[in-house]
């Protein structure tokens, strides 16, 4: 299955990407998906990361579905 992965701010700078498509095996969990993304972009590992699935914060246990929108970003700093 294919998912979209978004990067913002520091993670967009580290990866040089703002949006990529990633192929995942069926029944992949959020934490496994993140591990695959980190394999592609090891420098992301230098940051404390937050991870969202379909615009909701993920705790890692969620099952990813085909077409999901994932996002990897650093701790927020708005305000």
């Amino acid at each position: 299955m294919k998912v979209k992965v978004l990067f913002f701010g520091a993670t967009a700078d580290e990866t040089g990407e703002r949006e990529i498509e990633v192929s995942l095996a069926k029944n992949t969990k959020a934490n496994e998906a993140l591990a695959e993304i980190l394999e592609k972009f090891p420098r992301l590992g230098e940051h404390k990361l937050l991870f969202a699935v379909n615009q909701e914060y993920a705790n890692g246990a969620e099952f990813i579905k085909d077409g999901d929108e994932l996002a990897v970003f650093t701790a927020v700093s708005g305000g």
């Binding site: 520091a10 615009q55 927020v76 700093s77 708005g78």
Partner: protein, 156 residues
């Protein structure tokens, strides 16, 4: 019926106009938080800032915060507006305005909303200095620690 709003915009923010938009007929006080670009952070001079958002998620999170605020505090209307893009020194980055029948609730809700916005709404600030630039990761040590307790921060 409340008259809340939450917005993300690239345009300059007008604090007074935002505060006015939430004034209901039966309320007596509005409390407004106006955050803006500091010239100096820890002695280092900031030339300007850039704000970026994961916009659809940021709007969802702002909507959730307003919903929670209505449950926690006796308030009437809430307005939250965050600016994006390049901001000059002194320009307003965020305005949170809360109207309530009693001012105590307006103060409490406004302070709670800015604290939670800085912790949960996916917006990031880049500080641009004369000799470089830096994406700020988390609001502060304290608030980062709180973020970790609630969301899972993936520290690989």
């Amino acid at each position: 019926m409340t008259n809340d709003f939450y917005e993300i915009t690239g345009e300059p923010l007008n604090v007074g106009e935002i505060a006015r938009r939430i004034v209901p007929e039966n309320c007596g006080a509005t409390v407004t938080l106006d955050g803006y670009v500091r010239q100096f952070t820890k002695g280092r001079e900031t030339l300007h800032l850039v704000y970026e958002a994961y916009e659809p998620m940021a709007l969802k999170e702002m909507s959730k915060l307003i919903e929670q605020a209505h449950k926690k505090f006796e308030i009437e209307n809430v307005g939250v507006v965050h600016r994006l893009g390049k901001l000059k020194i002194g320009e307003t980055s965020v305005v949170i305005s809360v109207a309530a029948p009693h001012r105590r609730a307006a103060f409490e809700a406004c302070e709670w909303l800015i604290k939670e916005l800085k912790r949960t709404v996916p917006i990031w600030k880049k500080e641009v200095f004369a000799d470089g630039e830096l994406w700020i990761e988390g609001d502060s040590q304290t608030e980062n620690a709180k973020a970790e307790a609630e969301f899972k921060i993936f520290d690989v």
